[in-house]
Every structure is written in structure tokens, then in C-alpha cells.
Symmetry: C2
């Protein structure tokens, strides 16, 4: 087979789908799911409206594919930073999350996307409602495991229980990112989160 010259239809299709989903990050990030239009997304992706519909028959399919991609990438990054097991390596897990926060600031489009979509998805009828409900639940589970492990090792100094600390950490991160999107000079996301974690975990001095 002449694999060097021939690309095949699948390779092309995958590249187009990638361009489409990149366009979705911008479109959904700017006006949300409701405000975005299929025709605008097609234009941003550089294909025709019907070309877009060939790949994604409905607007909801577009959102589902985008959220799948984001969840997949998020899991992969955590794996690379070795922060997958918060119970066994809680400090590494929390520092891995800080690394993700640093990375997020380099991709403001993705932060805006999650900020806008999670706001819209508050309504139970929103196509991303289940996604964000589970995302929050999984994040609380992740942080609760890390704080519980630290507590059992006697490395937690806080009046709050691990579960409440988990909820607070997530809230702090999301709230800081939201403020940062409105005023990038007045908010220092990573420093504040790291400082908060250090204030309850003496061993986390780096």
C-alpha cells in the first residue's frame, strides 16, 4: 500500500471534524449553546452549512462530541502528570491539578467555553446538564479522596472535613477563572489556589 501518498477518506474526515470542533470552542464559548448557530460554526470551520450537517446531524451532537473530547483530553493530562490516584499520591494529585490550571490560562477559549456552558447547563433541560452535574461530582470525589488521604496521614490542618474542602477548592477554582475572564490583571488564579491548598496542607510548601 502507498501509505505515504494516500491519506484515505478517514484521515481527511478526522481532520475536518477536528477543525469543526475547534470552531465550536469559539462559537459556543462566545454565545453559548443556545446563541451559537450551525451556519456560523460551518463558516468558522471553513466548510458549507450542509457539509457540517454531514458530519454532525444535530447541534446537540456537536456539543456532545466537543464535551467528549474535552473530558478525554482532561483525563489524559492528569494521567501524564501522574495525578490519577489521589488516594495513593494526594500531594502529587493536587499539584497535578495546579499544572492543569497553569495550562488552562494559556487557553482562555477553553476556560470561556466551560464558564459559558456550565452557566447555561444549570437548567435541567440543557444538553450539557448531565455532563456538568457528573463533572462536578467526579471532581468532588477526586479532591475528597486527596484530602481524606492527607487527613489520615495527619497532614491536614483545617476545621473543614475533606468533602467540604473538596467542594470549596473546586468553587474557588471556578470562581477565580470566572473573575479572571472579566479582568485578567486583577486575578491571579494559580497563586490563590496554591496558597489556599498550602494553608490547609503544611507539607505542600512548594
Amino acid at each position: 500500500m502507498t501509505t505515504t501518498t494516500r491519506r484515505g477518506p478517514y484521515a481527511k474526515s478526522a481532520a475536518v471534524r477536528r477543525r469543526i470542533l475547534e470552531a465550536c470552542v469559539d462559537a459556543f464559548g462566545e454565545t453559548g449553546f443556545h446563541g451559537a448557530t450551525m451556519k456560523d460554526i460551518a463558516k468558522r470551520a471553513g466548510i458549507s452549512h450542509t457539509g457540517l450537517l454531514h458530519h454532525f446531524a444535530r447541534k446537540e451532537d456537536l456539543l456532545a462530541a466537543l464535551l467528549d473530547l474535552r473530558a478525554e483530553r482532561g483525563a489524559r493530562i492528569l494521567e501524564l502528570t501522574g495525578a490519577l490516584d489521589p488516594s495513593a499520591k494526594p500531594i502529587e494529585a493536587l499539584q497535578g491539578m495546579l499544572t492543569v490550571l497553569v495550562d488552562n490560562e494559556l487557553q482562555p477559549g477553553l476556560m470561556e467555553l466551560h464558564c459559558v456552558l456550565s452557566g447555561e447547563a444549570t437548567s435541567p433541560e440543557h444538553p450539557a446538564h448531565r455532563y456538568y452535574t457528573e463533572r462536578y461530582r467526579n471532581l468532588r470525589l477526586f479532591y475528597t479522596r486527596a484530602f481524606t488521604a492527607l487527613d489520615e496521614r495527619g497532614e491536614l490542618r483545617s476545621a473543614f472535613d475533606p468533602a467540604t474542602l473538596a467542594t470549596m477548592t473546586i468553587a474557588l477554582i471556578n470562581g477565580l477563572q470566572a473573575q479572571w475572564l472579566f479582568d485578567r490583571n486583577s486575578v491571579e488564579i494559580v497563586g490563590a489556589v496554591r496558597g489556599f491548598l498550602q494553608s490547609v496542607i503544611p507539607a505542600m510548601d512548594r
Copy 2:
């Protein structure tokens, strides 16, 4: 004048405008500014589409009036709780904000509205962008003044400066409210915020 029987056009108009803005809280809260439709808002308010256009010619006018009303009510509540001057009475100011949080939980529709709109308003082109930019800035100013006053009295125990503490407090509140909207059983807003404030202000033991 027969003030008892006659109401006059202004009284009726004001009542209709109130019903319209109440409908807007639900409509904008459920699908955001972009997702909401003028015809749906009219239906919720119990008037015709064109009747709505008589009171508010454009969708943006509706949003502006709603945000004005919210800002006005928020200022009035703070005034009533005697928390208007964070520099002179910092503890009272912070406890006043806690009172507002308690009140917010009784009006989930308003919390959803702000969550959805502030997410959408991340984009500079959004009609509420300026409103939320200034809202965040004013809130940071309010909390910074309270924490600065406490610091000068030697009542602040934190590695963070007052401005950073202000940003973090606001972030915590917004983030907790967002999570609460997705899972009301797993998140305890007021307790977490009060605990956070108590952890940096020993004098705030109530």
C-alpha cells in the same frame, strides 16, 4: 381626586413592567439572554408579543432594566443590614453579605439568572458584559475595604493580602452557588463561606 378607585395608567404600567421583569428572571435564567425569546417572555408575563414590545422595544432593554432592578435591590438589602461601610464596620459588612447569601438560597431563580448571565457575559460583546465587569470590581472593592480595615486592627490572620482575600471570597461564593445549582444536597454555601471567613478572622466567631 378619587385616588382610592382610580389607579391611573402609570400604576398599571408599573405593575405590568414588574410582571414582565419577573418573567425575564425565569426566561433568561433558563436559557440565557441568547436562548430566551421575546415571544416566550411575553407568554410568561401573560401579555402579547407586541404588548411586550410596547414596554420594551428591544431585548437588550429588557436585560438592562432587569439588571438595574437587581443592582438596586442588592444595594437596598445591604443598606438594611447596615453593611454599607466595610471600612468602618468590617465585621458587620461581612456578616451582612452572609445574610444576603442566606436570602439568595430562598430565591434559586435569581441565583440561576446570575450564574447563566455572568457566564454568557464573559464575551465582551454581550450586553451584560460591562455590568458584570463592574459588579465584580465593586465587590472586590467592598471586600478589600473590609479586609484592609480588619488588617489595620490586627484582626486578620492570613498569608494573603486583603485584595487577594477579597477576590478569593467572591470566587468561593460564586463557585459554591454554581455547584449548588447542580446538586443542592452536596453543597452547603453559607457554612463554607462563614467558615472560610472565620479561618482568617479570629474575631468573627459567631
